[in-house]
């Protein structure tokens, strides 16, 4: 029986805004097994980054449960949370704004180490930092450099080194390669993949890029307006997408195959407002298959074949 590392149950986050209650994350449930990667895909505003931050408890959820390694993250007190963060880390999207510009690489990587008193003395600390830099592929001579002296790829490597410093079991990767050029993107993805196979790290990989997520993930969950609309093993999702939104999303990826002429599914309109959503399928307005039934109640995620979950009243 594969061991479950993270379980999220009916997680909700609502924000109070002037115009009403914004349902950023609206009751999502999933779990990730040890050493595996779950890809969380969706477009801007679907709640995928909020989900990542909720799991890290960087923001407090409105409702729901987050069980990490058997412990309830939401019920953890300050001390327990401190200890939990050793095991769960996050890599942010933008390596330009997520690093303190006034700290050198040495200081940036030493921060988590000092926070947990990992190293006994300066010598050990330096050794540890140098070995982390080597792991993520940063040249040792850069140890005194500041973020502004480095390109995006190298900055993102610092972000990875910081996340790795405490040897976590689990890392939330929030669009870790979106700000990078393709050739550099591939370098970082290969690095994350290598770390997983060597150290058995579990990832939640948040992205809008379906080709990256397919390459990287074991399972994929597709989000739309705060809810998971489909979840399946990566291969299954790409070969046999069931939700109309997943289908449209897959067909919208520009393909480099010049022989393949595909029928593109063009969606009508744009994502609707997450403020006070009506009790109906949130995708119905843009959906090419929508029927009357879609407007009566929010469809629930159900298992349609082993491991393949779908929330659609029509399909």
């Amino acid at each position: 029986m594969p061991e479950e590392l993270l379980r999220v149950e009916n997680l909700k986050k609502y924000f109070n805004t002037k115009r009403g209650l914004l349902h950023a994350v609206d009751g999502i449930t999933f779990s990730i097994e040890k050493g595996k990667t779950l890809g969380l895909v969706g477009e801007s505003g679907c709640g995928k980054s909020t989900t990542g931050r909720l799991i890290m408890r960087l923001i407090e959820p409105t409702d729901g449960k987050i069980i990490f390694n058997g412990k309830d993250v939401i019920k953890a007190n300050k001390n327990e949370m401190h200890m939990l963060r050793r095991d769960m880390q996050i890599i942010f999207q933008d390596p330009f704004s997520s690093l303190n510009p006034r700290k050198s690489i040495y200081e940036l990587i030493s921060e988590p180490l000092r926070w947990f008193n990992i190293c006994k003395n300066k010598g050990e600390e330096k050794e540890r930092i140098e070995s982390l830099m080597e792991t993520v592929g940063l040249a040792r001579r850069l140890i005194g450099s500041y973020p502004h002296e480095l390109d995006g790829g190298r900055r993102q490597r610092i972000g990875v080194a910081r996340a790795l410093a405490l040897e976590p079991k689990f890392i939330v990767c929030d669009e870790p390669v979106s700000a990078l050029d393709v050739s550099i993107q591939a370098q970082i993805i290969n690095l994350l993949e290598k770390l997983q196979s060597e150290r058995g790290i579990t990832y939640l990989f948040i992205t809008h890029d379906l080709s990256v997520v397919n390459y990287f993930s074991n399972d994929i969950a597709v989000m739309y307006l705060g809810m998971i609309v489909e979840k399946a093993p990566a291969v299954e999702l790409f070969e046999n997408p069931l939700h109309p939104y997943t289908k449209a999303l897959l067909s919208a990826i520009p393909s480099i195959d010049v022989d393949q002429k595909r029928d593109r599914i063009l969606l009508k309109g744009e994502i609707s407002s997450p403020i006070n959503p009506a009790d109906q399928c949130r995708f119905a307005k843009r959906c090419n298959y929508a029927q009357d039934i879609c407007l009566c109640g929010t469809p629930q995620l159900r298992e349609v074949s082993p491991g393949h979950f779908l929330s659609c009243a029509v399909m």
Binding site: E43, V182, S183, A186, H208, A252
Partner: protein
């Protein structure tokens, strides 16, 4: 290359430098472009390759200082752009050639209604009356899929995709011969990107325009362009029809770009990133700019700058390796 009358745009040996305090940035180092009528050319390359600088040169919008067009000629529809007076140039921008910028959030004026921003172009270039311009602005909005009555709204009332539609309406208002689109969908979500690209294709055919599509996304090139030029460190390293470049890749850098992309229907294919980084354009290496990252480089590549040579048909590449008999790229393993 002779200047073909059928070409909308002919650029020859364009060299653009940025003269900064830290040194001379060699942004564009001898680029040739020939673009036929109703054709779409893709310019592909990574950040800092010189794609945008090339595009800005066509509009003579390279920020000066520090930018200097050092050499070359740009002929747009028979007119020599580089020798034109500034006032003449202003009458060409927006009428004969338009540009769509990457970020629709910053390319619109936030305190002017979208209708007025379209009407402005029409009044300026076609001298139509206020009411006529306003009417045509509404028609343009309808054409890009926005209700005409929204002409009186401000940019912040529109979503990202809708703003980019407004930008397209402004660019096309005077029916230009050439449209330059600089990463027009990079800031947009993939389903919205699909909508906007579809709209651009449709309008390009409707208006009989030529188009230059600047992008880092090879998928977008494959779906929207007829030809493609791959740019590295300010030079074109490979040029050809889409089929030639995608099916029979010749330059090691182009191959590296393809190998860096995950293949959707083959998870087993490993990513093979290009090692290292693009060289600093202030200190370009001697010889071929790509040799420090190139798996095929040999001694001659470090000494001598390869020139773009044509192989079969319209396919050309700048690589010394093809002087070795039977040389072939390894492809993805």
């Amino acid at each position: 290359m002779d200047i073909n009358k059928d070409n909308v745009l002919s650029i020859k040996d364009l060299v653009v430098h940025y003269e900064t305090l830290e040194g001379v940035v060699h942004a564009v180092n001898g680029i040739d472009i020939n673009l036929g009528r109703k054709k779409t050319l893709g310019l592909v390359g990574e950040t800092g390759a010189g794609k945008t600088t090339t595009a800005l040169s066509i509009l003579r919008l390279v920020p000066d200082p520090p930018g200097v067009i050092k050499n070359g000629s740009i002929i747009l529809d028979g007119k020599d752009i580089l020798s034109m007076s500034e006032s003449k140039m202003r009458s060409i921008r927006g009428r004969e050639v338009s540009m769509i910028f990457q970020d629709p959030m910053t390319s619109l004026n936030p305190v002017i209604t979208v209708g007025e921003q379209i009407a402005e172009v029409l009044r300026l270039h076609e001298g139509v009356s206020n009411s006529e311009a306003a009417k045509r602005a509404e028609e343009m909005l309808e054409m890009v899929g926005i209700q005409g009555e929204r002409a009186c709204e401000y940019p912040h009332q529109f979503s990202g995709g809708m703003k980019q539609r407004v930008v397209i309406a402004i660019a096309l208002a005077c029916n230009p011969k050439l449209l330059i689109a600089d990463e027009p969908t990079t800031a947009l979500d993939v389903t919205i990107q699909a909508q906007v690209l579809e709209l651009m294709k449709e309008l390009k055919n409707k208006f009989d325009m030529s188009m230059i599509m600047i992008t880092h996304d090879l998928g977008i090139v494959a779906e929207t362009c007829d030809e493609v030029s791959v740019i590295y460190a300010g030079r074109i390293v490979e040029h050809g029809s889409i089929r030639e470049v995608f099916k029979n890749t010749m330059h090691p850098y182009t191959e590296g770009l393809f190998n860096s992309l995950p293949v959707i229907n083959n998870k087993q294919a490993k990513l093979k990133p290009i090692p290292g980084l693009m060289p600093d354009p202030i200190e370009l290496p001697l010889g071929c700019s790509f040799w420090p990252r190139c798996p095929y480089a040999f001694e001659r590549c470090r000494q001598e700058q390869p020139v773009l040579r044509s192989f079969d048909g319209t396919h050309s590449t700048a690589c010394h390796a093809y002087d070795i008999s039977d040389f072939k790229l390894k492809g993805r393993c």
